[in-house]
């Protein structure tokens, strides 16, 4: 493991120290716990949007804290859910009286810790609702859609829900947006090289020189198949068709396309992938209304990418286009 770190068990604290110093205009850390909140939290009259999860996904999660997106993030160890008290303190810090919405991915640790935090928060009289992302179609068959993991589709949920909250939406309205976007979002990822969790020191998986992991998760979770590396156009087409079939997306649908780099894959390759996705969607008569290409939700230095499609309606579009001012996303 060749990483620019010090003690593997200090990486999150040291990263946070740097991050907070660079982005002090946007965020501050809570005294007692590892939670990062908007400098202007709680924003009066606004529903508080809280998410959290393991570290190692930059720019997610903390890179999207700010006006129009997230109010607070509970920060866990690398790929490990944050503890309940961090989530609870985050909730307290952003609650202006209109309640707090927890947004999380569908990971055992996150689900448990957010549930415990939710109980504690409610015990303290804070109205809390939660919405769980499940966009990764490779993580479970459609029959068990509720077992699917949330991946980069969460970015689109944060953006839209954040905009809804900023515009004065109620806790229920914000939750409804999260659920609508999640229901209309599908993601599929592939990896050509693994990442290494500092504490473990060895790669999360091993691939042959000509293999890729098809359907990989955001932490190196095994996908649905190990396939031989083929030209980008073939991979992108296969993935896009599988995504289209899953929702299913229909001719005439308006969609947002998100190509997310998992860490080590150059933007050059992401745009080559986007090019093919666009060709496939055009052929299917599915209209691309919004496009996002880059790194939104990485897995340390994993090499690979994911393709996300979201079926749009006028509300989702206007929420996607609403202003945002965060360290890593400004609109």
């Amino acid at each position: 493991m060749k990483k620019f770190i010090n003690d593997p068990f200090d990486v999150v604290d040291e990263m946070l120290e740097g991050f907070l110093a660079v982005h002090s205009r946007y965020v501050r850390k809570m005294e007692s716990v590892r939670a990062v909140v908007r400098t202007d939290a709680p924003v009066q009259g606004k529903v508080g949007i809280v998410t959290g999860g393991g570290s190692g996904h930059k720019p997610a999660f903390i890179g999207f804290i700010g006006k129009g997106m997230l109010d607070a993030v509970a920060v866990g160890e690398i790929f490990t859910s944050p503890p309940p008290n961090a989530i609870l303190e985050a909730a307290k810090a952003v609650n202006s009286g209109r309640g707090v919405l927890f947004l999380l991915g569908n990971y055992a640790g996150d689900v448990m810790n957010f549930q415990l935090a939710a109980e504690m928060a409610r015990a303290e009289g804070i109205p809390v609702e939660q919405a769980i992302a499940t966009d990764d179609i490779a993580s479970a068959p459609k029959e068990r859609i509720n077992n699917r993991r949330g991946v980069v589709g969460e970015f689109l949920i944060w953006k839209t829900v954040g905009a809804k909250a900023e515009s004065g939406g109620t806790l229920e309205e914000c939750k409804a947006v999260a659920e609508k976007v999640n229901q209309n979002t599908r993601t599929l990822g592939v990896a050509s090289a693994p990442c290494t969790v500092p504490a473990k020191g060895s790669p999360t998986f091993v691939l042959a020189d000509d293999e890729i992991e098809y359907g990989v998760g955001h932490h190196g979770e095994p996908g649905t198949a190990r396939i031989k590396m083929v030209p980008a156009d073939q991979i992108a087409e296969r993935m896009t068709l599988e995504i289209i079939e899953d929702l299913p997306f229909k001719p005439g649908d308006e969609v947002a396309v998100l190509i997310n780099g998992l860490g080590a894959t150059p933007a050059l390759e992401l745009y080559i992938v986007y090019r093919r996705v666009k060709q496939v969607l055009n052929a299917e008569n599915i209209h691309i209304a919004r496009s996002y290409v880059g790194e939104f939700f990485t897995a340390l230095e994993m090499a690979g990418f994911s393709i996300t499609l979201t079926r749009l309606d006028s509300e989702i579009i206007s929420l996607l286009d609403a202003p945002a001012d965060t360290p890593y996303y400004r609109l």
């Binding site: 068990f9 716990v33 866990g76 160890e77 790929f79 490990t80 859910s81 944050p82 503890p83 309940p84 008290n85 961090a86 055992a108 640790g109 448990m112 810790n113 549930q115 415990l116 969790v197 504490a199 473990k200 020191g201 060895s202 999360t204 998760g217 932490h219 979770e221 095994p222």
Partner: protein, 216 residues
């Protein structure tokens, strides 16, 4: 007074956990590395280090207070599934021991029944899913049985440890159904579950300490 567990015993038990989980750090991470993300030993060691720091403050505290503090630390130090699960386990143990200076076998049974219930509620795992529950559930059952058969505390805890160990070992032949390793499906066969193993070390601390008392 070997039919009772005192606050001092609980202190020694917690201390035994701290020592064991420090010693077994590598082993547990190795087990987790085989079918998980390899951090279980570190996670456990980390939070029991935090607990060790508190040991001095536990002097002359009642058992419920000690276990509650332990539970809060476990719950909030490392996070992850284990923080929630073991945190809940210790907090439920504490609840049933609120204000108590000593524990009879019957108290211990109630405490562990509550603990198992808590772990099941939060983790939604079943026995056979290849988790810490595969260690905890049979151990609790054996404790209930021992009580029904009127066994003395030390013998009951001996059964408790044996049942826990058997439960732990049973995970080697199970396919993980929940948690991180469940992703590997049948690839998890042949590997002993890390959480089941740390759970064994934690439960074993009770019998080890109490029975060493015996032999004094």
């Amino acid at each position: 007074m070997a039919d009772k567990i005192t606050s001092d015993d609980i202190l020694r038990i917690i201390k035994d956990m701290c020592d064991t989980l420090e010693q077994e750090k590598e082993y547990l991470s190795e087990l987790d590395g085989a079918i998980g993300d390899g951090d279980h030993g570190v996670n456990m060691a980390k939070c029991f280090r935090d607990i060790r720091k508190q040991l001095p403050n536990y002097e002359n505290k009642d058992i419920g207070t000690i276990l509650k503090s332990v539970g809060m630390i476990v719950l909030n130090s490392v996070g992850g599934a284990m923080g929630a699960l073991y945190g809940t386990m210790f907090l439920r143990l504490a609840q049933e021991a609120t204000g108590k200076e000593e524990l009879k076998l019957s108290d211990l049974v109630k405490m562990f029944e509550a603990a198992e219930k808590g772990v099941r509620e939060i983790g939604k795992a079943e026995v056979g899913d290849k988790t810490m529950l595969d260690t905890l559930a049979p151990a609790v059952a054996s404790l209930e049985e021992a009580e029904q058969n009127g066994k003395p505390l030390a013998d009951a805890l001996a059964d408790f440890e044996v049942a826990a160990r058997k439960g732990m070992e049973s995970t080697r032949d199970l396919v993980a159904k929940v948690g991180r390793s469940s992703r590997l499906g049948t690839r998890t066969l042949g590997h002993q579950d890390a959480g089941a193993t740390s759970c064994y070390f934690i439960l074993r601390a009770f019998s080890r300490v109490v029975r060493s008392e015996q032999t004094k």
